[in-house]
Symmetry: C2
Subunit: 208 residues, 2 copies
């Protein structure tokens, strides 16, 4: 019963027996994320998830618990990606370019004929956050995180002489947050490239 990798597996927090095949948790969770992201919580049925994840119902419940828990796992996964993305932008770009790249990430590759997914956290903000304190806390903290991201970059930009001194850090970062949220609303409801470009360009123009 005791196998060589047991302690290592324990340390990594995995289930014990190393011969368990298990489906690729990360890959299937990504598929669930896609479904929830595209259609929302209520409009995605467990049957939809079984179909699109390619995993059996039983395994699905055994692995993630119920639909709510699976949704939270998907949301957490998206949140991790978002966190990683912000951190990459912050590391790789000049402050003002990092902000531009963030806006670009949501506005490039949009389909003018609709069907755009927008931002999963924002979709969830409107579908569930108002009546669900747990979801609201998660979404709210992601938004606060984004605000802090803007704050750091604006300060850094001002230090680098990239962003004018007269820009108010708190005002600008919160306005950027609101603008980005507005943009991802428009991506789902009025996906016109010219419209989005106008908004993004105008937002960046304020930073110098």
């Amino acid at each position: 019963m005791i196998v060589p990798d047991m302690i290592g597996a324990l340390l990594r927090g995995e289930k014990l027996m190393p011969w368990e095949k298990k489906f690729d948790k990360a890959a299937t969770l990504d598929r669930a994320l896609e479904a929830f992201w595209s259609h929302g919580y209520e409009a995605t049925s467990m049957q939809d998830l079984v179909d699109c994840m390619g995993v059996n119902r039983g395994s699905l419940y055994a692995t993630y618990g119920d639909k709510r828990a699976l949704f939270e796992a998907a949301l957490g996964r998206y949140d991790d990606d978002r966190r990683r993305m912000l951190s990459n932008l912050e590391a790789r770009y000049e402050p003002r370019d990092a902000i531009r790249q963030l806006f670009l990430a949501f506005t490039k590759d949009i389909d003018p004929n609709g069907g755009n997914k927008g931002c999963f956290l924002t979709n969830t903000a409107l579908e569930l956050a108002a009546h669900d304190p747990e979801i609201r806390a998660l979404v709210s903290s992601a938004q606060a995180d984004l605000e802090a991201f803007f704050k750091r970059l604006i300060v850094a930009g001002k230090d680098a002489g990239d962003i004018p001194e007269h820009v108010n850090v708190l005002d600008a970062s919160r306005t950027l947050l609101a603008t980005l949220l507005g943009v991802v609303v428009l991506v789902r409801s009025r996906p016109e490239r010219a419209l989005l470009k106008t908004i993004v360009d105008d937002a960046l123009r304020r930073l110098g």
Copy 2:
């Protein structure tokens, strides 16, 4: 069979016989609007609607058709209210104040503990507009209408010397649109008065 009011009723597009009692269509539709506005399309069941509208299932289907049609009626009703509201603001306030009042309408009376309804059109934009062309057209045109509202007021404000000449009409009106959409997202997910006030004040500061 032919009664005095028949022609008048016909002209008004009503059903013929004048002795039909009929429940108060406007009042019950408002209750349906409340339910859809608060919980969204998918999360509101016909049973919920029967309960909160105080109308029998049969009458409900006879009057509005199916759930989809009832939702569209509620959305149309909300859209009419919105249209009327914009027109009132435009008539009663100075340009810049009209814009301020619009933002105030969405941010005053918010509950920091959640449960805020935000903007029905924006909630619908994220829940349904991406995959439903008909809904998207309606939401999209309401947003374009709002953009036009901002445009007119900015032009009027510039004429009145209320808004500085250097403000670009297209840029500013679209940015105001995005900002307002961002605000109504935050109202549902991060209802902090200070946060919203910062954003609204900053948006208005751009107009002089």
